[in-house]
């Protein structure tokens, strides 16, 4: 399990709560990312969309720099379980990213079937949710995005009362 340390250099929260949407290194698909950006925006999150083919190191750096309230990894080329298991531990290894919700979804395997064992490994590796069932997952994702927007907004409102 990741050791959770206090953040030595917290970034200021500016504007609305923010989601970072990203593809994985080997996946060139874009429409899933454009769609998820719109869903996040509709639920009250600002979005940084890194686009497709994001190398692991870039995703880690951007998450550390941007300090999003939600990390959304989406991939549909069939390498998702494998690439998720590679990159999510790299994100969780950074103390700044120990607590940020990380979700992954899409078409994660090449067979078209949900692979429960690999989904379980992704959860164990630090994914808060694995959306690998198909379109029926969208509403649950939307609810999660709304909850993140509401909670983050609430937290920053409290912070301004305490320190402002």
């Amino acid at each position: 399990m990741t050791h959770r340390l206090p953040d030595p250099n917290p970034s200021p929260q500016k504007g609305r709560p923010r989601a970072l949407v990203s593809g994985v290194a080997s996946d060139s698909h874009t429409w899933n990312l454009v769609f998820l950006q719109l869903v996040c925006e509709e639920e009250g999150l600002d979005v940084v969309n890194l686009g497709p083919c994001v190398p692991d190191e870039l995703l880690v750096t951007e998450c550390v720099d941007q300090r999003p309230d939600l990390v959304v990894i989406s991939t549909v080329n069939g390498h998702g379980y494998r690439e998720g298991l590679r990159v999510v531990p790299k994100l969780r290894a950074r103390p700044e990213l120990a607590d940020v919700p990380i979700v992954i979804g899409g078409r994660l395997g090449v067979t078209g079937r949900r692979e429960d064992g690999l989904a379980g490994e992704l959860t164990a590796a630090g994914c808060d949710r694995v959306f690998d069932r198909g379109p029926e997952d969208i509403e649950e994702f939307r609810t999660l995005a709304a909850a993140v927007a509401w909670t983050a907004d609430d937290a920053s409102a409290r912070a301004s009362v305490q320190f402002g």
């Binding site: 290194a25 969309n49 497709p52 083919c53 080329n77 390498h79 090449v110 078209g112």
Partner: protein
């Protein structure tokens, strides 16, 4: 073999048959060979495909090798990692004068893939500096243009030195798969063809991917043929149609009707080759059997369509007028077509709707019109004054986008 891929397609077209070809790639040599042999034996005029896996595509050869070593499933054939002996073994007794094989890859930096395919004795592949960078990669466009210039030179010189006529197909007729208005698809295909010619290729195919309206698709392929005739002097060229590359129907009947429509589009417009999609497309990587079924279905649909001879050419359509303007406005920017393409994207003279790459301006937007045609909702800075009404689009929501992305699927699955 000197006739090569383009010669095979020309001969097959002359005999009145449409060449049909799968998208097919498997991680291990034995399955890939079985797939190629099944393609060869399919009851249709087929060409073979080796689709490269996506680790190799992005140059992550370590991950491709690791997946091979651990036996993990790959979404394509790791052409570079398998090495020359395995690749030659794969093709031995498979590729011959009756069955050319093309490598499909999706790489913005194709040098290693081109070397590996040339080492394997192959000389046909596809892609392009725009179409495999903007929607497919995150490297800067100017780097992709340089990589592709070197790649084209390598393919042309090594292929021609071996006594062959190497073949390169544009992927520009497909950017982002869906929701790019046909005129820009046609323009990008022609411009990438000109780029290939500038860097030494003499045997080229120009792609166009089926979109939302059969009538508009016919206009588009005819416009592509007309512009190729006008701009691509001194090279042998043919047109390849891609069966729909967006969200695919989920029902067997819907998938079959969309594929049959693609075959009809190809035959009616005089296109010489068709890349098929399978009924499994909406769910997963298709099996060999599903690919063979799709090839045979497409071949049958093509034979049932009345051919048009000689191939028609139409220059009075909206698609032709817009595409011609985009090509000319781009070429006027610089005598070197690669530099001209870079300037065109910088100025927004070319602009792919919804593409999030930093070198794409992202001001242009498209929509599906009431008649099913794909048109500009916002031309951004595209030089289409006098051809398209200038208006600002309102923002599109997720439900509306999803609706547009699923338009073709719905129509063919019989849900409106």
């Amino acid at each position: 073999m000197a006739a090569g891929f383009g010669g095979f397609v020309a001969d097959t077209a002359a005999s009145g048959e449409l060449v049909v070809q799968p998208r097919m790639g498997f991680g291990d040599v034995a399955t890939m060979r079985t797939g190629l042999l099944a393609t060869k034996r399919a009851r249709a005029a087929t060409a073979g495909t080796i689709t490269v896996d996506s680790y190799t595509r992005v140059g992550d050869l370590d991950s491709a090798a690791a997946a091979l070593a651990s036996g993990a499933a790959l979404n394509g054939y790791p052409l570079v990692s398998h090495g020359v002996a395995a690749n030659r073994g794969l093709l031995h007794g498979v590729r011959d004068a009756t069955f050319p094989v093309q490598v499909r890859h999706g790489s913005a930096n194709p040098g290693k893939i081109f070397e590996a395919l040339l080492d394997a004795g192959l000389d046909a592949t596809e892609g392009g500096p725009i179409s495999y960078c903007l929607p497919y990669s995150r490297i800067p466009l100017n780097q992709a243009v340089d990589h592709w210039a070197r790649g084209c030179e390598l393919l042309a010189t090594r292929g021609q030195a071996a006594g062959n006529e190497p073949h390169l197909e544009t992927f520009g007729g497909c950017v982002l798969g869906q929701l790019c208005p046909p005129s820009q698809l046609v323009a990008l295909s022609v411009l990438e063809g000109l780029f290939f010619q500038a860097y030494g290729l003499r045997d080229i195919s120009l792609s166009y991917a089926q979109q939302t309206s059969p009538e508009q698709d016919i206009e588009a392929v005819l416009a592509l043929r007309a512009l190729a005739g006008e701009f691509l002097a001194g090279v042998r060229w043919h047109v390849v149609v891609y069966a729909y590359m967006g969200v695919y129907p989920e029902t067997r009947r819907g998938a079959a009707s969309l594929l049959a429509a693609a075959a009809e589009l190809a035959v009616r417009t005089g296109a010489e080759r068709l890349i098929v999609k399978t009924e499994a497309e909406s769910q997963r990587i298709p099996t060999i059997e599903e690919n063979v079924a799709a090839l045979e279905l497409a071949g049958t649909a093509a034979r049932a369509t009345r051919p048009v001879t000689p191939p028609p050419s139409r220059t009075d359509s909206q698609v032709y007028a817009e595409a011609r303007r985009l090509v000319e406005a781009t070429l006027e920017l610089h005598p070197d077509v690669g530099r001209a393409l870079l300037r065109a994207f910088k100025l927004g003279y070319l602009d792919i709707p919804y593409c999030v790459h930093p070198d794409n301006r992202g001001a242009a937007r498209s929509h599906i019109d009431g008649d099913g045609a794909l048109r500009w909702a916002d031309v951004g800075a595209l030089p289409l004054d006098g051809l398209v009404e200038r208006r600002r689009s309102r923002p599109v929501g997720s439900a509306e986008l999803l609706d547009a992305l699923h338009y073709v699927q719905r129509r063919h699955d019989g849900q409106g």
